[in-house]
Symmetry: C2
Subunit: 216 residues, 2 copies
Amino acid sequence: MNGDKLRSVSEKTINRLSLYRRLLENRFGKGHEHVFSHELAELACVTPAQVRRDLMCVDNSGSTSRGYSVQELVREITAVLDAPGGQRIALVGVGNLGRAILSYFSGRRPGIAITAAFDSDPSLAGRVINGCRCHPMSELSEVLRGSEIGAAIVAVPASAAQDIADRLVAAGVRGILNFAPVPLKVPEGVFLEHRDMTMSLETVAFFARRSLGDAE
Amino acid sequence: MNGDKLRSVSEKTINRLSLYRRLLENRFGKGHEHVFSHELAELACVTPAQVRRDLMCVDNSGSTSRGYSVQELVREITAVLDAPGGQRIALVGVGNLGRAILSYFSGRRPGIAITAAFDSDPSLAGRVINGCRCHPMSELSEVLRGSEIGAAIVAVPASAAQDIADRLVAAGVRGILNFAPVPLKVPEGVFLEHRDMTMSLETVAFFARRSLGDAE
DNA sequence: GCCTGTGAAGCTATTCACAGCT
DNA sequence: AGCTGTGAATAGCTTCACAGGC
């Protein structure tokens, strides 16, 4: 389809495409059939030029004086973001955060499903939480090998995270979303996103304080 | 102290300083008194040049052929990041995610404390979770006004998020960490960080798939 | 007139590369 | 010899500004 364009799309653009799609779905639900780049920009809190630039990587239906067709745009962004048959994700670590993630994603996005969870607590084994089956940690490799899972969420304590990451990669996982408060080492070719809450919160605290100082 | 340098520090640098500090604390716990930039870089998964560049904004003790003194570096980063008397944070939304955040931050960082939580569920009012008192949502402005809280975490459903943000800003909050899956509008001068799990997960899924494709 | 798509400019962040120090 | 601190170069991202279309 639009193969080569996709090779070079940046992470930030993919992030925003994900956001645009949700905003558009929501907007379409409200009866709007078309959007202008400045309207979508307003919803997403970015500039209109940014929206148009981002949309260059979707196989865009083009546009008229009415702007973009919401429905077509959603379809085209989906063609870029989602795997044709949907994508399966594993969750490792079913503590407070892991459960929050399960409950949040349960059936929320059609293209993505968390289909297996793992925890070192044996009492969770066999339980089904928000439609997702929990397995003992020891079965990680085995369960992943028999599945179509290509990405995983790591929500375990810092001390366990690197070991888990190694095992995930060995089992064929090529994308990791890491919530553990420690940077992970993964081989070239494995995509890694580190979402460190401590970093986020300390950063917000810093700039909040600086803002106050600026005002005075 | 090092006032003007701080005006221009980027968000990314502050993020990494937060990370460096934790890695250093951990390292010092293991008996290392000194680090080289390439060692810290290895721990943080960045380049040595990046580390040195980031450290330019701390009032650095300088360095010798032994590298940086871990203890001093921690102290200097703390002088940049933390408010002198510690910083208080509010949490809005005590659902699954909110509880995960409370349990995670409970006593973890000395410079930061989540001192008030709010939820629209009246049955939570008055309860204390991980040392943090829950208030009914209606008391948000009142409680914040009588406090030193300058930043807040938003962990409510999308539909409530903008209203909460407006009330937080009106009550004097100058930094918001937003976990709701919707971009928030805040006035100039209020720092906003949007941590959207759907965006993160869809992005990881996309690049995991692309990685697989690259390999084939 | 007001939109989109996009080359070019402008900005920000990262890395290079080397002077200066021990 | 091997480190830090930093000007200069590079790479990456965003915005400008305008040609072309309805």
